[in-house]
């Protein structure tokens, strides 16, 4: 059950920061959705707005941490070039994947998609956090703004889910060791 430094960072990137966002998303989305006078009392809206502020900023910070640990810590290990003549590619995941036709698409499609689309998530999540903070309880009166924020948040979730899903599949096929 030992994990080396690379495996620990891969876990921190995906199963800590990425997971925090993926698991926390639905609760935060419902909080924003439920900030309506028809569903909550004025006191309830106030309490929800206060909690939502902390919650969505926490999720935004988590997804920023996920993309930065992914791109600047784990990704260099993933894409490292093996020295010429290397036969054992197990510690060079990208080259292990593209060495075989049966696994090449995990990199050419999976990693290429994941590494780029992921960056939309923290941008969108930060916008959501700002809007929720700016309006506070008055977000309950802003139907259009609430709708736009939920769309941004859902897109952030979709981007994170794509990155997380392919991260899990690629780690299964060629783990960063």
């Amino acid at each position: 059950m030992d994990m080396n430094v690379r495996e620990i960072w891969t876990v921190v990137h995906g199963m800590v920061f990425g997971f925090i966002f993926l698991l926390g998303f639905s609760g935060a989305l419902y909080m924003i959705y439920s900030m309506k006078p028809e569903l909550l009392t004025a006191d309830g809206i106030g309490r929800t707005a206060k909690a939502a502020k902390v919650y969505v900023w926490g999720l935004a910070l988590s997804v920023w941490a996920a993309v930065f640990t992914g791109a600047w810590v784990v990704y260099p290990w993933y894409r490292a070039v093996p020295p010429e003549g290397t036969l054992d590619l197990s510690t060079f995941p990208k080259f292990l994947l593209i060495a075989s036709e049966s696994t090449a698409k995990w990199h050419e499609f999976g990693m290429e998609w994941k590494e780029h689309v992921a960056f939309i998530a923290p941008i969108a999540a930060t916008v959501v956090a700002f809007v929720v903070s700016y309006y506070g309880p008055t977000l309950a009166k802003k139907v259009g703004e609430r709708r736009a924020v939920m769309i941004f948040f859902i897109i952030a979730f979709v981007a994170t889910a794509i990155a997380g899903m392919f991260g899990a599949f690629i780690t299964k096929a060629a783990a960063v060791r």
Partner: protein
């Protein structure tokens, strides 16, 4: 597109419009920079994206989109901070730009342009 707030007690929507539109611009930047890079990853533009040798082209692509997001936000916020804007129109544009970002980062789209 922008007027001063009618009711001084109510917050203007300018800062919100600014954040949303900046988010769309940043996402679209990621999509477009990625698309241009992938059309020809041997071009001078593509080579200029390797801000870090270890991270490769992703370093420049991602950092440009993040910089563009924050710069756009700062500018738009400065312009709209005290104004009431046409939120419906601006948010629609912002969401369309998010979609541009999603499309530009999707590998099969790159193949259409190669």
């Amino acid at each position: 597109m922008a007027t001063l707030a009618n009711n001084l007690n109510e917050k203007v929507n300018g800062p919100v419009s600014a954040a949303l539109l900046a988010g769309g611009i940043g996402s679209a930047a990621m999509g477009l920079v990625t698309l241009i890079y992938e059309i020809n990853d041997k071009s001078a533009f593509a080579k200029s994206m390797a801000w870090s040798k270890a991270v490769g082209g992703l370093s420049g692509k991602s950092m440009w989109s993040i910089i563009i997001f924050f710069v756009a936000w700062a500018i738009l916020h400065y312009v709209w901070k005290d104004k009431e804007t046409d939120f419906a129109r601006i948010s629609s544009i912002a969401i369309a730009l998010l979609v541009v970002g999603l499309l530009g980062t999707f590998p099969p789209v790159w193949e259409l342009f190669k």
